[in-house]
Subunit: 390 residues, 3 copies
């Protein structure tokens, strides 16, 4: 073992095919400059005329890392980048960026604005990677409501439908963080409560209001139905668009619910977690069924994701940390998720190995665990993970 | 463009005249050693006899950076520093430190213990920089009470007085964080509520109690009057003296109010924010009218402000981050605000450029935006900002 | 003074005998591999079969730093490490690790599972260091209950017993964070309330339930009795096992209580504090009687403790920061507490001195203050601290 070189580590970081355990499809069609910029922020407000979203960490990271894949110099200007992107066309840009991401397996959550993005088959075909599905619990309920389910039938119909639509899924996802926050009553709601809440909701739907489900009882029912289904449960946690109340998305607020579901032996995957990733690391240490990632935050903090990655490697055992991009839409986000994670791991683990704090062999093993093996184990993906013995 | 050197970046960081968008006057008179130390902490308790406040990050930063401006070696001892400071006299020390700060424009908040510090004219004369005024909303109300306004007249009198005293101001400032915290009822209080609350408060004032305004209804009325006035609103956020309840000064608690005032198109500037600066960065990303700085925290964390500066450059678009010192009193604090920010930016952006993550040209542009241009745009200061196109 | 070398600083960091101001005994007996792993996490759940707790920052730190003290190469595998540990036997391993820690004085909290670990005499004998006792307030009450105290006598008996058992103690410790959280009613409970709460608790004890004290009124009574006793009060703060609600262990929630006890002139020592150490630093700046450490978190974040150490040196005056390991059980934790703190201080202060931000002489002084002198002053240990004048 050379103590002077970290070449083997750098190669492992670069070459390990990742499992992106929470991601969405890439856009199918061209977008205008303004729309592209609006997809590069979690804000749902228009970009003000006196600024460009390219002047942000994620914008700088796109110009640094994606520009060369479109045959431009690193740090090409935002206008030049957008022009080149339009010239090549969505199909070519998407193909280049997705293939360059080095993803072995995308676990794709299909429940958000699916008409604008590639589905499972499209993502598989354009990326060359394996794909599996993660089903959004709320979307299943909303589609039932759209079909005219009755309040009395809702609970049974939901359970039956969930079983059907998750037949080939590897996990489910809850966005209770967005709709309610984590300070909810942790207990399973009763059948009567659910029927009553469903009646109120479906009355509004029938009256022409949005399908959007936001009743606390119903959201808790969906979550518990997810527990009963037995697949790993992904929970949006922390940072997201202004719909959520960020202070109510702190994963520490989930503890009462986590304790209640411990006997069910279902894995809970806290997604993103910024700026509460240290809280997530604590939960991953003390609860055997809790995992987390710092996706989304990595993309939006750009070069500063190095610090985020470091902070994600504190309390949690390394078997409890996963990789994701949470990309939706612009394929730049799919590529950057992988690229910034690899760059960050090179800087963080590279320094630890160079200083003698970690061995190179251990560092390589942890890269493979976090980037691939942990997800293969949790979601039973049937990969060929290497040995995990220290 | 040289890829080996960051000389142009270092020069830009050193030479850009800054807009200190939230600052107070420097002391007019000499202070004793004990008083000086008490002005170097946010504590309002006496310094215990077994310690010196010079043994802190801000104390070390003063000895490192201010001592040479007083003709001492860097890291001169605290006693030697104080002696030399006394020998030169307040006028000379203040002049040296303020002129060395490289501030182009001070936006001075005048509402706190104004009798001990230079006013606008004094600051302009001793620093050679431009000065503009920021008016503290609570101070205007308290001066009305001191003049004997009646409860029935209070609301109208306040609005009229605010219009007069802000005629030449560039912004207003609220200290509702100190007096109430951010978990307040976000709605505009009714005229009746205000009159009733004013009656209670003014009855106490008449009975000889302090003018200090702390009634929740009145504080909310002042804040909404600030919104109506239309100038940018600065809000003390996070870290401050023991008067405040720090856990209630988390800017995430402001979200309901921020959403209510969005239609008014008024800019909200979250000041300081430590240790909630990541929360502020999130708000600055998702709400077009929210800005923030990490002043105050920079001074008090000394050399560790490098990390604070890095953490301030995560989610927020670069057009939403500003520079301030929040200095009050000792001119060391005015100088250090600028000096530590420049040193921190050199370390942070310098590393990013050297590693190839940012271009030098971009880094220079961001220095100018954060240090000057963003403030000139928000406060309409009429500066000659350079182009902001990527 | 050489400006090119930091050799004197490195020597001071390595050679200063530390006061470990909050620690417990080392295990007296051999432990099986599974038990050892369970002692290397704050989780109280069994380690799942698909992971090893050695694959964590603390596990890597043990293999890096403890392996050489057991005659193995750094980074020896977990199996090889455990085999060698068993081969040498607990007595030899404990002796080597404790003696290598360079602790001058252990302040040992004796209230937790004392039958499995060395007491004061055992720790003194096996480590060669001085030892002093810190008494856990809750343990004193529980032992009274075990002896059959009556509810009417409880308050007086507790005060009397506390006086006796703390006769030679240097401090007391509260675990109200675990049992209740910090959002408690801060006032001293009345005698009547205490008697009533004691009656309920003792009725359960008599009925055969656990001695475990968890009634809010009683916990507050113990804490106030600790204040009356006048010794420094240690408070478990932040991170710990899943018994606690981490979001309710934020030290900012203690402010109302801290303000109430200020007149009593009793020192409050916030232990661990992760991930709320920045909040603790704020409290240490603004309240003269508040101190803190980042023990426990240092061990569990391994090489990442460098960042934790940096973050602990922000707002707090350096006279308010202490060193602790919070080790309990495996002597690896006693050694690592010291080793990782020294390695972290070398990296953090070393960089500051090399960059010219701190003088080497100041850095040495701060190492001695944080590692030893502050504890000697707070607990009146009668050490020979060097001068603290800047």
């Amino acid at each position: 073992m050379s103590t002077d070189s970290i070449d083997r580590l750098l190669a492992a970081i670069e070459e390990t095919p990742l499992v992106d355990h929470h991601v969405h499809g890439a856009l199918t069609d061209d977008v205008a400059r303004a729309s592209l910029e609006e997809l590069l922020t979690e804000s749902d407000r228009p970009i003000p005329p006196w600024m460009t979203q390219f002047d942000s960490q994620v914008g700088f990271a796109i110009r640094r890392w994606c520009a060369p894949l479109l045959d431009l110099a690193p740090h090409a200007g935002a206008d030049a980048y957008f022009d080149r992107r339009s010239e090549l066309g969505t199909q070519e840009v998407t193909s280049r960026l997705l293939k360059s991401a080095g993803i072995g397996h995308f676990l794709i959550e299909t429940g958000y604005r699916g008409e604008q993005i590639h589905g499972l088959a499209g993502m598989e075909s354009i990326s060359g990677a394996k794909v599996s599905e993660v089903v959004r619990l709320e979307a299943v309920a909303e589609s039932l409501a759209g079909e005219g389910v009755s309040a009395a039938d809702f609970a049974d119909a939901y359970i039956a439908r969930l079983a059907v639509v998750t037949q080939n899924a590897v996990g489910v996802k809850s966005i209770i963080a967005y709709r309610l926050g984590f300070d909810f009553a942790p207990e399973r709601p009763s059948r009567d409560e659910v029927a009553k809440a469903a009646a109120s909701w479906l009355r509004l739907v029938t009256a022409g209001y949005s399908l959007r489900i936001s009743d606390p009882v119903l959201l808790r029912f969906l979550l518990w139905s997810g527990v009963d289904r037995g697949l790993p449960i992904q929970l949006h946690t922390g940072y997201g668009d202004p719909d959520l109340r960020l202070d109510r998305c702190d994963p520490l607020l989930l503890v009462p619910w986590i304790k209640l579901i411990e006997p069910y032996m279902v894995d809970v995957l806290l997604l993103h977690c910024y700026p509460f990733h240290r809280h997530a690391g604590y939960l991953a240490q003390v609860f055997p069924n809790v995992y987390f990632d710092v996706g989304l935050g990595i993309n939006y903090t750009g070069v500063q994701s190095v610090q985020l990655i470091k902070e994600s490697m504190e309390l949690a055992p390394f078997s409890k940390i996963l990789f994701s991009s949470d990309a939706w839409g612009p394929p730049e986000l799919h590529y950057l998720g992988s690229r910034l994670w690899r760059e960050g791991m090179k800087k963080v683990l590279g320094a630890w190995v160079r200083d003698g704090d970690w061995s190179e062999q251990d560092a390589i093993r942890i890269v493979q665990m976090v980037g691939r093996d942990n997800a293969e184990r949790v979601y039973t993906l049937g990969g060929n993970s290497e040995s995990r013995t220290a």
